[in-house]
Structures are given as structure tokens and as C-alpha cells.
């Protein structure tokens, strides 16, 4: 049953191995640049879903956490040139603390207030970074990449493998939460918070934990941006696009199962990458909007829900 995790871990190991093999054999860097973005969205969508999908608290501030991650990395590079791994860990810690703090302030309230509060946090943090000259302020900051570490032959490939590892960690965490008592508690909160509390679920604690974990993963996903772009600037690091995508991907994929955000991110992320190099017009902004509306209206359980329905249909015919 659900507790059987072998398939998942074998799958994860295979994905990681494939990523490494790809990095070793494929010369063409484009695929890594493009795939990095897609995998980064897997992390963001999975992180968003922990609070948004399981507990039903909509975070509009993915970009705040993401941007904080990127700027923590910038700070550490400028300050003492810490390596990428430590940047990610530090970003995760700060993101987690931020999630905890925002949660503490607003998670006691109805869900929509939390959403509005995350919008406010995004604006406040962006303003703070704009006013912080050490990390470049409004003009942004350019970063020189350190030489690439063995055994990689290009920095992008290293970032890609790094993102894949991060994605596996994120999905593993989400999967653990989903299948354990924590996930059940979060779902109870989403379905009916008062009833959850009265059946012994420590709602505030669980929400805080989910918010902190989700924030930590989002910030971790933002940390490698500094190296990926080798240039960070507040308007793009705190861009609303990240918030919208992180929300759209799980909804399109399906919020009830951990695979939903992964499918959503791989699908929407890949579509975005493909559209970027095929249709060069407003239409690529429209893709997200239209897909969002179509799925929300036509397939509320996302792609995962469609699959489940399909399976039930087939089963029904067999009987």
C-alpha cells in the first residue's frame, strides 16, 4: 500500500542517475539551461502544495520566498564566498524562519487573510532589498561564477544536478507529509478546520510546520538563481510570475497527490520553455492563464484527477 516506499526511492535514484548520466554525456548546454528552470519549478510547485494543496492555505508569496533565497545566496557570495551547497542550506533556514514568522502572524486567521499577508510580505521584502545597497539595491548585482567543481564540466550542468537533488528532497518531504499523520491532519484542516481542532488536530502547529517547510523549500529553490543568472536584480527575483506558476502548476497537476505538482511543473514548465522558443508573443503569457482557467473549471482535481477517473472507468467496464 501507500507505506511501500521502495518504488519511490528506486525511482528517485534512477532519476538522479539519469540526470548525472545526462550531465556526463549530453554536450548541448541548452537542455540543461531549460531543464534547470523546469526542475526549479518542480521544487516550487511541490513546496507550494505542502501548504496550499494539503492544508488549503493559498500562498501568493512564493516569489517572496524565492527572492529571499536568491538574495541570501547573493549575500553569502558577497560576504564570504560560501559554496553553493551552503548557500542553499542557509537560504532554506532563512526561508523556513520567514515562513514560520509569517505563519505565526496570520495563520490563525481565515485562509484568505494569509494569502493577502503573503502579498504584503512580498512587497515589503522587495522594498527592503531595493533599499539594501550591499546586495546591489535596485540596480541589481553581477556575480562572477567560481570555477566549476569536479566532476562537472560546466556550471550549468552542476546547477541542474543540484536542482534535481533538491527536487527529489522536496518531493520526498512532500510525499512523507502526505502519507503520514501530518498529511491527514493538514487535509482535515483544509476540509474543516474547526472539526479538525475538535478531533484533536493541533491545527496551528501543523499549519506553522507546513508553512515553514514550504517556505524553506521555496527559498532553497531560489538560492541557485544567483549562480544560474550570475546577475540578480529585485524586480525579476521577486517577480509575480513565480507566485503564479507555483500556484498554477499544482492546480493543473492535481493538489491531492504529491505527483500532481510534479506533473504540473514538468508539463507547464516544459510548455513554457517550448512556447518561449516557438511562439514569441503575448500568447505565451496567455498559456498560463488559459490553462489555469480550463483546469480549474473543467478538471478541478487536475491531471491526477483525470487519471483516477479514467482508471475508474476502465475498471468499471471490466466488471
Amino acid at each position: 500500500m501507500k507505506t511501500n516506499g521502495y518504488g519511490f526511492w528506486i525511482g528517485s535514484a534512477v532519476v538522479l542517475a539519469l540526470a548525472c548520466i545526462a550531465a556526463a554525456t549530453i554536450k548541448n548546454e541548452y537542455y540543461f539551461f531549460a531543464a534547470y528552470i523546469v526542475v526549479q519549478f518542480v521544487v516550487l510547485a511541490t513546496a507550494w502544495n505542502i501548504l496550499g494543496g494539503y492544508a488549503g492555505y493559498v500562498n501568493f508569496g512564493t516569489s517572496a520566498f524565492f527572492g529571499v533565497g536568491a538574495y541570501i545566496a547573493v549575500m553569502l557570495i558577497k560576504w564570504m564566498n560560501l559554496p553553493l551547497g551552503l548557500q542553499i542550506v542557509a537560504a532554506a533556514c532563512v526561508g523556513g524562519a520567514l515562513g514560520f514568522a509569517v505563519g505565526l502572524l496570520t495563520l490563525r486567521l481565515r485562509g484568505i487573510f494569509f494569502s493577502i499577508a503573503t502579498v504584503a510580505v512580498t512587497i515589503i521584502l522587495e522594498t527592503a532589498v531595493i533599499n539594501w545597497r550591499f546586495v546591489g539595491g535596485a540596480t541589481g548585482v553581477q556575480i562572477l561564477r567560481p570555477p566549476v567543481m569536479e566532476p562537472f564540466d560546466s556550471y550549468t550542468k552542476m546547477l541542474f544536478v543540484c536542482a534535481v537533488i533538491l527536487a527529489i528532497i522536496a518531493v520526498a518531504i512532500a510525499r512523507y507529509i502526505e502519507t503520514s499523520w501530518i498529511g491527514r491532519g493538514l487535509r482535515a484542516i483544509r476540509d474543516n478546520e474547526e472539526a479538525a481542532e475538535c478531533t484533536g488536530v493541533p491545527t496551528l502547529k501543523l499549519k506553522l510546520a507546513a508553512c515553514a517547510i514550504s517556505g524553506a523549500l521555496m527559498s532553497a529553490a531560489g538560492a541557485p538563481l544567483a549562480m544560474y543568472q550570475s546577475f540578480v536584480e529585485p524586480a525579476s527575483a521577486f517577480n509575480l510570475t513565480y507566485s503564479v506558476s507555483a500556484l498554477a502548476m499544482p492546480i493543473i497537476g492535481g493538489t491531492s497527490h504529491w505527483i500532481g505538482p510534479v506533473i504540473g511543473a514538468l508539463l507547464l514548465g516544459t510548455v513554457q520553455q517550448v512556447v518561449t522558443v516557438t511562439i514569441s508573443s503575448e500568447l505565451n503569457v496567455l498559456v498560463v492563464g488559459v490553462l489555469l482557467v480550463v483546469f480549474v473549471v473543467g478538471a478541478p482535481q487536475g491531471i491526477v484527477g483525470l487519471f483516477v477517473k479514467l482508471r475508474e472507468k476502465i475498471k468499471g467496464k471490466n466488471i
Binding site: 496550499g52 488549503g56 493559498v58 502572524l105 496570520t106 490563525r108 486567521l109 485562509g111 484568505i112 487573510f113 494569502s115 493577502i116 499577508a117 502579498v119 504584503a120 510580505v121 512580498t122 512587497i123 515589503i124 522594498t127 527592503a128 531595493i130 533599499n131 483544509r190 476540509d191 509575480l240 503564479v244 500556484l247 498554477a248 492546480i251 493538489t255 503575448e282 500568447l283 503569457v285 496567455l286 498560463v288 492563464g289 488559459v290 490553462l291 489555469l292 482557467v293 480549474v296 473549471v297 478541478p300
Partner: protein
């Protein structure tokens, strides 16, 4: 001291403008509980409608008023659709409703870019570009017009909600839907009407948006935070609260700008919102 007084007066004017662009949301979100994140996009839609009529020689305010019936219909259609697809199905209306309206935001933005291009648009009117001299102070006429319209809108809406039968029904539907149903009224129809009114008001507020400053298709994003800030600060669904909250936001931005520096203004006003959520989540005038 002069500058401070000036800051307060201008903050008051801009604050009323903030209230005017938020009243529609105050009805849609505050009273009807619809997570109408596309409200600012509708605002921009109104601004572009005004721009079009203005090019044909219409006065922007008149154009805004002329847009109201069309926006009313748009609002009714949007609410009907929202109700059929989300509210009626029950669970998770919040999350999916939000996602839906987010989709609408993108569709409106892209639609505007395709029709009007990405450039900024302005309108022309006798009261734009002139100012009223009061002592040493000069008050831009366009802000005074916006100020007056904001008062008319909020007070009108507030009177409508408290004095007319339908208005009271709208307020009742916000408080106790089942009770209203028992009384023989159809809450869906009332909500639909209310959302229509909210959208019509938003259309007119869109005219104010383009009177006060230039508009481009994605300017709605700036107003997502601001309008929700005003509505929450006010206390959901309170019209007079919306006016006061708008003024508080306007004046605090203006004072911060004068005393601390403009670059911190957004952080201060949204910090205000966070603090408010932390200590008095029902808002200033909340139930």
C-alpha cells in the same frame, strides 16, 4: 510644517482615490466573499474603456459612467459563471476561485496588450494638468475630481446598501444566507446583482485610474496589493471603513514619503496591513 500639511492634504486626496478603486472589491470580496483577485484587472479594463471613449471626444468621467451598464453585465456574467463552477460545487471554492481569477487576470492583460499595445495611455480633460491654488498650496484638479468622485461612490454605495431594499438584502446575504433563503429571497440572484454593481462601480473607478495617472495593461499588479490592503484594513464589507482605510493608506504613504523617503513607502503601508492582521484581523470597522 508646511510640507507636512501638504503631505497630509495630498495624502487625503490620493487616499480617497485608493478608496474609490477599492469599493468594488469591498463589495465583491468583503460582502460576497468572492476572492476577486481580478478586480484590479477590471479596473484597468475600465481605464482602457474610458481611454477609447475619450479619444472619441468624451469626458473621462462621463465615459466612466457610460461604461457602467456594460460592466454591470460583465460582473453578472462573471459571478454567474463563478457560482455555477465553484460556489455551487462547494468545497475548495477559495483555492480554485483564486486560481480562476488569476487566470482571468492574465487573459485581461493579454487582451489589452493585443488591442492597445504595451504603451502607456492617458486621457485628456479640462481638469487634467491644472491645479487649484489654495493659499500657498496647489492642489491638482484631477486629484480633486477623483476625490469628489470617490466620495460620491463610497457614500452612494453605502447609502444604497443601507437604505434600499436590495441593498439591505445584499448586506443580509453576506451575514446569513440561509435566513435570507427562508425569507423567500434568492441569494444567488442577490449576489449576482451585487457583484454586477461592484463591477459597474469598478468600471467607473477605472476612469478615475486613468484620470489620476497614465495606465498600461499590466498596471493592475500594482493595485492587487493596494486594493486588498484597503479592504482588509477597513474591515470586510464596510463602505465607510473603505473610505477611512483608503485615507489612512494615502496619508501614511504620503507622510512616510515626506519624512522618511519614498522608497520605504510600500513597506510601511503593507507593514501596516500585516500589523493590522496580527492585532485586529477584523479590520478597523469589522463586525
Amino acid at each position: 510644517m508646511d510640507l507636512l500639511l501638504d503631505a497630509i492634504v495630498l495624502g487625503l486626496l490620493v487616499g480617497c482615490f485608493y478608496a474609490a478603486v477599492s469599493v468594488g472589491l469591498s463589495v465583491a470580496f468583503g460582502l460576497l466573499d468572492v476572492p476577486h483577485i481580478a478586480h484590479p484587472a477590471f479596473l484597468v479594463l475600465g481605464a482602457y474603456g474610458t481611454y477609447m471613449l475619450n479619444r472619441m471626444g468624451w469626458d473621462p468621467i462621463l465615459a466612466g459612467v457610460a461604461l457602467m451598464p456594460a460592466f454591470m453585465l460583465l460582473g453578472i456574467a462573471v459571478y454567474r459563471f463563478y457560482y455555477e463552477t465553484f460556489e455551487r460545487r462547494g468545497s475548495d471554492a477559495g483555492l480554485r476561485g483564486l486560481a480562476f481569477f488569476f487566470g482571468v487576470v492574465f487573459i485581461v492583460e493579454v487582451g489589452l496588450v493585443m488591442v492597445f499595445g504595451v504603451d502607456q495611455r492617458l486621457v485628456e480633460a479640462p481638469y487634467i494638468g491644472k491645479s487649484l491654488a489654495v493659499g500657498d498650496m496647489r492642489l491638482p484638479l484631477r486629484l480633486l475630481v477623483a476625490f469628489a468622485m470617490a466620495l460620491v461612490l463610497t457614500i452612494g454605495l453605502s447609502l444604497y446598501l443601507s437604505k434600499t431594499f436590495t441593498g439591505r438584502a445584499i448586506k443580509a446575504v453576506a451575514q446569513d444566507e440561509t435566513a435570507l433563503r427562508l425569507m423567500g429571497a434568492n441569494p444567488v440572484r442577490i449576489k449576482q446583482w451585487a457583484f454586477g454593481i461592484a463591477t459597474a462601480v469598478t468600471g467607473l473607478a477605472g476612469a478615475l485610474l486613468i484620470i489620476v495617472g497614465p495606465v498600461e495593461p499590466t498596471i493592475d499588479r500594482v493595485y492587487i496589493g493596494r486594493t486588498f490592503c484597503v479592504v482588509v484594513l477597513a474591515g470586510l464589507g464596510s463602505m465607510s471603513g473603505t473610505l477611512v482605510a483608503g485615507i489612512i493608506l494615502g496619508i501614511s504613504e504620503s507622510i512616510v514619503l515626506t519624512l522618511l523617503g519614498a522608497s520605504w513607502a510600500p513597506a510601511v503601508s503593507f507593514g501596516l496591513l500585516l500589523v493590522m492582521l496580527g492585532i485586529r484581523p477584523q479590520g478597523l470597522f469589522g463586525r
